[in-house]
């Protein structure tokens, strides 16, 4: 069982990394923010699986913390976006 | 908050809830308990500012809502998966507008958050008059009927049927 759970964890990590690659290459800041959410969910799933495989319950805490951080950074990002004077069209290639 | 005073028994109930959550997360060790009580009290105090006392939830409505929401949430994931795995993703994305009866504020935001986990729908923006802009994965589906049903189910979870923000 432990081997299966570890395998599933690595599969999810690989798939998440693939999605991350796609999202991070985007020019839109919003799409890059999606990377945080993706990483939060994917890493939480992988950690929970690894924790069950190695019977170390502390990894669940790490998963919990990651989800929390993802939620907070999304909120902070949105606040930053709305506080921008930003009605002016951003120049092409602008990072934000 | 003078105009929005939270009664003491509500605060106590919330504090007990937060303490229970803390115990689940940290484990029931007696020497840690004082920290948990302080944390729960702080959380209850904060919640007085964020969650109006009158916006109570009806328990049976909540239960019926969960019975409806969980299968819908599963259906949403399966729906996205089906489209993602199809040789040509069957998509016709676009926006619909929907007039909600919920007043602006927490109830409406929560309703939007719930809708965003329903199949094929994602509320994008809400205007002051209650017009919601909702992004749909597939405009060929009967979106408006589904939205009305979702909203009705959500209103049942609020004690006053969603008339109060």
């Amino acid at each position: 069982m432990a081997e299966f759970l570890t395998g599933a964890a690595f599969f999810i990590l690989a798939v998440t990394a693939l999605g991350l690659f796609r999202v991070l290459r985007s020019e839109l800041a919003v799409e890059r923010m999606m990377a945080v959410q993706l990483l939060g969910t994917g890493a939480a799933a992988a950690l929970v699986l690894l924790g069950a495989a190695s019977t170390s319950p502390a990894t669940t805490d790490v998963a919990l913390l990651l989800m929390l951080l993802a939620a907070f950074s999304c909120a902070a990002f949105t606040l930053g976006q709305s506080e921008e004077p930003g009605d002016a069209p951003a120049p092409k290639g602008d990072e934000s | 908050m003078p105009e929005n005073f939270t009664p003491r028994h509500v605060l106590l109930t919330r504090g007990a809830g937060f303490l229970a959550l803390w115990l689940v997360l940290m484990g029931p060790a007696l020497k840690d308990l004082p920290v948990g009580i302080v944390a729960a009290a702080a959380a209850a105090w904060t919640s007085a500012f964020l969650w109006p006392a009158r916006g109570g939830l009806s328990f049976s409505g909540m239960l019926r809502f969960l019975v409806r929401f969980l299968p819908q949430s599963v259906a949403a994931g399966v729906d996205v998966a089906r489209r993602a795995f199809a040789p040509v993703p069957p998509l016709q994305p676009g926006f619909v507008t929907y007039q909600t009866a919920l007043p602006a504020g927490m109830a409406r935001q929560a309703c939007c958050a719930v809708m965003s986990l329903q199949p094929g729908k994602l509320p994008v923006a809400a205007e002051a008059d209650g017009t919601l802009h909702i992004h749909c994965l597939d405009l060929r589906e009967p979106v408006a009927e589904q939205l009305a049903a979702d909203e009705a189910a959500f209103c049942e979870t609020l004690q006053d049927g969603g008339r109060n923000g």
Binding site: G40 | G77, G120
Partner: protein
């Protein structure tokens, strides 16, 4: 009994992994940002939900199980609000132009 629980875990975790794959495929294949956001918030979320559900028979203690459920609840909450916030930010940028 234990074999049955193991089978349940196997099926649920496999289903969850499949949904994560679907989420990534959606990210790669869906045509616009908002559709990709659909894929991200819905598929990955259900994937995590299935994995948590599948692992429940494997945890020894009730507290451990409750904590797992907390992870899932937090994920649901975070996905619902985050997708809202991201979509809102996108909408404002578009209508601002």
């Amino acid at each position: 009994m234990s074999a049955l629980a193991d089978l349940f875990t196997l099926v649920m975790v496999a289903g969850g992994a499949l949904l994560f794959l679907a989420g990534t495929l959606g990210l790669l294949r869906f045509p616009d940002t908002l559709s990709r956001l659909h894929a991200l918030s819905k598929a990955d979320n259900l994937g995590l939900g299935l994995i948590v559900l599948g692992l429940l028979p494997q945890v020894g203690s009730i507290a451990g199980g409750l904590k797992l459920v907390c992870v899932w609840l937090l994920a649901q909450l975070s996905a619902a609000t985050a997708s809202q916030l991201i979509a809102g930010a996108l909408h404002r940028r578009k209508s601002g132009r």
